[in-house]
């Protein structure tokens, strides 16, 4: 009974937030296409035109990493404030607090799917051939989504208690970006450091997407199941915190 009601609420709120976001600008949802194109163009200009590092391989290699990273980073940043933005709401009516990060993750998922379609088109234009390994893409996307969901819910759960966490995340995300191998190949890491490199789930996922999309090979399923496991742990911890403090969040000052 309640579950269905919350499902309806989550889906409608996702739709409403997306529509409201589109209505705020002149060319509305065209931004969801233009924004990632501009983002990718910046890196194309820097690496291909200015640094002349642009072999075809490097550009496609870079784009895959950037698209995945952007999905992760913007999901976290949006989920971070999801509860405090709705403080007016949760002080007036009872709502389970897990709704809010789930809604922002879904809005970011919709935007990611559009960006991912553009990425696939660009890869085809560059000359990447689709292969049989591409059937793994839905599994990889699901796994990535689960990891994003875990991190987002955790970020949303603890930010109201430590508003300072917001400032930490910015540097944290930048550090993680450079550790996730967006600009370099995992092969360039010395063998004895690879364990640490692949302890970072984002590094695993970006590598797996590249292997699948660009080399048409199957990803390392052991590493993928490690990400799957970590994501479940994160999500379980986050949902527990959200549930435990469900009736404490409305009393937070949200500095």
């Amino acid at each position: 009974m309640h579950k269905k009601r919350y499902l309806e609420l989550v889906l409608y709120k996702t739709y409403a937030d997306l529509k409201a976001e589109a209505a705020r600008t002149y060319i509305s949802f065209m931004w969801w296409i233009l924004d990632p194109l501009l983002y990718m163009a910046v890196f194309y200009i820097v690496f291909d035109v200015l640094l002349k590092r642009g072999t075809d391989n490097f550009i496609s290699f870079l784009l895959v990493g950037l698209v995945l990273w952007k999905w992760f980073a913007s999901s976290i940043q949006h989920a971070l404030n999801s509860i405090s933005i709705h403080r007016g709401l949760i002080q007036q009516i009872y709502l389970p607090k897990w709704l809010f990060p789930v809604i922002t993750v879904l809005t970011d998922l919709v935007k990611f799917i559009i960006i991912f379609m553009i990425l696939l088109v660009l890869l085809l234009i560059i000359g990447v051939m689709p292969g049989i390994a591409w059937i793994n893409l839905p599994i990889l996307i699901m796994c990535q989504l689960l990891f994003i969901m875990g991190c987002s819910c955790l970020a949303a759960a603890i930010t109201p208690f430590f508003p300072d966490f917001r400032l930490l995340t910015e540097s944290g995300l930048t550090l993680m970006m450079f550790l996730s191998g967006i600009f370099y190949e995992s092969k360039t890491i010395p063998i004895n450091f690879q364990v640490f490199f692949f302890a970072n789930p984002m590094a695993v996922m970006i590598d797996a997407f590249r292997i699948t999309l660009l080399e048409n090979r199957h990803p390392n399923w052991l590493l993928i199941s490690y990400v799957f496991f970590i994501s479940n742990v994160l999500l379980a911890v986050a949902l527990n915190i959200l549930k435990r403090f469900d009736r404490v969040y409305p009393r937070m000052t949200f500095a």
Binding site: R5, E8, K19, R24, L89, Q92, I93, V248
Partner: protein, 168 residues
Amino acid sequence: MNSHLQQKSSFQPPLKVRSLRKVGVCFQRRSGLFRSSPFWGLHDVSFDLFKGEVLGIIGRNGAGKTTLLRLLADIIKPDHGELYNNGSQATLLSLQVGFIPYLSGRENVMMSGLLLGLRRNLIQERMADIIAFAQLENFIDQPIYSYSAGMRARLGFSIAIQLDPDIF
């Protein structure tokens, strides 16, 4: 309801919907980096609320009226004492809750209704009534940032009266 009870002739005690025993709510006021001092917004509040009763709460600013209502509506939990809740729904008078300015009146009815606990089918069913009651037939597909304050208030009110809470 009352006449119905009297017809049964046998005495039935009125249904207790909320019961508070020495309830207190404590807020932490931060006074330094690691220091905070407790502030009891509500302290030792006890009363029973029965079905059919009307409860009025009067108090100065900061006396804890809103905090008490939030306790009754199950939005927050007490830090001290016991609060019995028979499971009945309580709603604060929340008009225009969850309104998004860029969405149309119709979409905001759906959004607000879902947040307040109505089901999608039900809202769809009553959409025409809600719009008619708010007298907004000509503007319902316009974004509500273009509404006047009065129009928004009418829309919020016609959604709120669709609710059927046990306590309000």
